[in-house]
């Protein structure tokens, strides 16, 4: 068996991120029954609460308290991990904007393999770990193998490894703050700039008509607006629409945009990347309209329409108006 398994716990305002449980679940899929160590770093109030929360899911929790770790700067945390981890450690991180910042460089410094955005674990045969990843925005999956004999950094996709049963491990918190070591960085955190508030709050809407790349042109946004008006809904969108500056950022559904909880979500020309679906909570009734029958959105939608939205949406709008 390769090295000891560690999970880095991200946290905010004294609460561990959902990925804390998910990483414990993922570790169990690699090494059933393995003793996994959680790593919690930070400074000041709330840190102990996070450690105690982590101890529900991990046998051991290593606590590193240091002012230089007050904000989770990936460069400082990388230095810390290189200072304190055994060189053949298997490190699990969430594949969020923190894990993307930390994972690749950490693997270089530990001289171990890096496996990004894992959605499934197939088997561990000797030192060869076989995982499932996705490529092309989720349109195809791959089996990928890696040799973890010299350690590994494994980023897992958030929201995938839900725990069947979690908690009750009753782990032990070990204060290792004395071992932090040198943490000088070339990148210094300044501040968080909060998202701008737009003219509508899509997080409070029951029915969303959401547009993606399939809308093709700024002038076609009107098609979605007309449909939304007929339905009594509000228009939201996926990332490419905001990148193209066709709608405001406040209308974007996704991990880098808003998290919405509608009752009904009508996705027009949205392929359904995990970053987009990550912003969709509360188990809405999802209708997908997409001309590509293989679009990943059809895997998660309740109802699908394989048509070009530019042709279908106007027909739907007209029929709704007639039916009223």
């Amino acid at each position: 068996m390769a090295g000891q398994v560690f999970a880095y716990i991200t946290h905010k305002e004294g609460k561990a991120d959902d990925s804390a449980v998910e990483m414990a679940t993922a570790a169990g899929k690699i090494y059933p029954g393995a003793a996994v160590t959680a790593i919690v770093t930070g400074s000041g109030a709330g840190l102990d609460a996070v450690c105690n929360e982590a101890a529900k899911f991990y046998k051991e929790v290593w606590k590193f308290e240091n002012e230089a770790l007050a904000y989770p700067n990936a460069e400082a945390i990388r230095k810390l991990l290189v200072n304190v981890l055994p060189p053949d450690a298997v490190v699990i991180l969430p594949h969020d904007t923190f894990g993307m910042d930390l994972g690749p460089g950490l693997s270089i410094k530990l001289d171990s393999v890096f496996i990004s955005d894992v959605v499934g674990f197939e088997e561990l045969a000797g030192d060869t770990l076989k995982v499932i990843r996705q490529e092309f925005s989720g349109q195809v999956s791959t089996h990928t193998t890696c040799d973890i004999s010299a350690g590994a950094v494994i980023n897992i996709r958030p929201g995938i490894f839900q725990a069947e049963e979690a908690g009750g491990v009753g782990g032990q918190v070990v204060d290792k703050s004395a071992e932090v070591g040198e943490l000088a960085v070339g990148r210094r955190f300044l501040e968080i700039v909060a998202a701008e508030v737009g003219d509508v709050d899509i997080t409070k809407e029951d029915v969303l008509v959401s547009v993606g790349r399939g809308i093709e042109d700024q002038d076609n946004i009107e098609i979605a607006e007309d449909l939304a008006e007929a339905m009594g809904a509000v228009v939201s969108c996926s990332r490419p629409i905001v990148d193209a500056k066709w709608l405001e950022k406040s209308r974007q559904v996704g991990t880098s945009g808003q998290t919405v909880k509608p009752k009904v979500y009508l996705a027009l020309g949205i392929s359904g990347s995990f970053q987009h679906l990550g912003g969709l909570k509360g188990n809405p009734f999802i209708v997908a309209v997409n001309k590509n029958p293989k679009a990943p959105i059809f895997q998660v939608a309740d109802v699908g329409v394989v048509e070009d939205l530019l042709e279908f949406a106007p027909v739907l709008t007209e029929k709704i108006q007639e039916s009223k």
């Binding site: 904007t97 993307m100 990843r133 955190f189 950022k249 293989k294 939608a301």
Partner: protein, 263 residues
């Protein structure tokens, strides 16, 4: 400011339906439309805009075969000053670390203040920029969506983090940044722009030029290997509504009404 932008030629997912080849060894590559990775295109635009303000030059580098040269040339038509192609049979089958190793060798033959990559490409790994920075021992910031040049020693960069928030950082040069889409509006490249750079010589460097042992890159050096491709499991999947467009619309209206989707 001397800027290097790392770009990749990829199948354009906006133009193609990606399908798995019959034997699962690859995706179906016949008739695919290729283009520059979308994230990389934003990175090149950002580099050009920085140089427009602060002076210097933009070099675009790609790892690949002669087809990748087209992509380098396209980015030069956008306004990048120099192109560079890293190409050798020995590079084929490189994993992310192999690509980063090649780029590191190329970086060390130049004198760059700033290195940009796209935040991710077709394989969705988002790994090369962070690896390259660690190999070069310079600071790194991922998913960058604003860059402000403070002086010739440091930048102020915004990272796009969860919830639409932005994390502001000060970062020392030289550094590596991975660029998020939406950071700017990449300029249109017309046929005239392409013609202007059509005959520009683009240097090609192989393993000997980079001083690399063949077993550190390519399939020989790869510790992460893709075994096969397969179609994702559909789970339950959507109930696909069948019929004419009018019939489908009628069915959908009933369903939407039942679920409270039409007020």
């Amino acid at each position: 400011m001397e800027i290097l932008v790392c770009v990749k030629r990829v199948p354009d997912t906006a133009e193609n339906e990606i399908e798995v080849a019959a034997d699962g060894s690859d995706i179906e590559r016949d008739d695919l439309v290729y283009s520059v990775n979308e994230w990389d295109n934003y990175a090149v635009e950002e580099a050009i805009q920085i140089v427009d303000k602060a002076g210097g030059s933009v070099t675009v580098v790609s790892v690949g075969d002669e087809d990748a040269e087209e992509v380098v040339r396209r980015e030069m038509a956008m306004g990048a000053n120099n192109g560079l192609l890293l190409s050798d049979d020995a590079f084929e089958g490189s994993d992310g670390k192999g690509i980063a190793t090649l780029l590191k060798a190329a970086v060390e033959k130049g004198n760059y203040d700033l290195i940009l990559t796209g935040a991710q490409a077709d394989d969705g790994a988002g790994q090369v920029g962070g690896m390259l920075a660690a190999m070069l021992d310079v600071p790194y910031a991922s998913v960058v969506n604003t860059i402000e040049v403070l002086d010739d020693k440091k930048l102020k960069v915004g990272r796009e983090i969860e919830g639409g928030n932005q994390e502001m950082n000060e970062i020392d040069l030289p550094c590596v940044l991975s660029i998020q889409t939406g950071i700017n509006e990449p300029r249109y490249v017309g046929i005239r722009g392409i013609r202007k750079v059509a005959s520009v010589e683009i240097p090609v460097w192989g393993a000997p030029d980079l001083g690399l042992a063949a077993d550190t890159v390519g399939a020989a050096g790869a510790r992460v290997k893709r075994v096969d491709y397969f179609m994702p499991e559909l789970g339950e999947g959507a109930e696909i509504l069948e019929g004419s467009m009018e019939e489908v619309a009628d069915k959908l209206i009933e369903l939407l009404k039942a679920k409270g989707g039409i007020k």
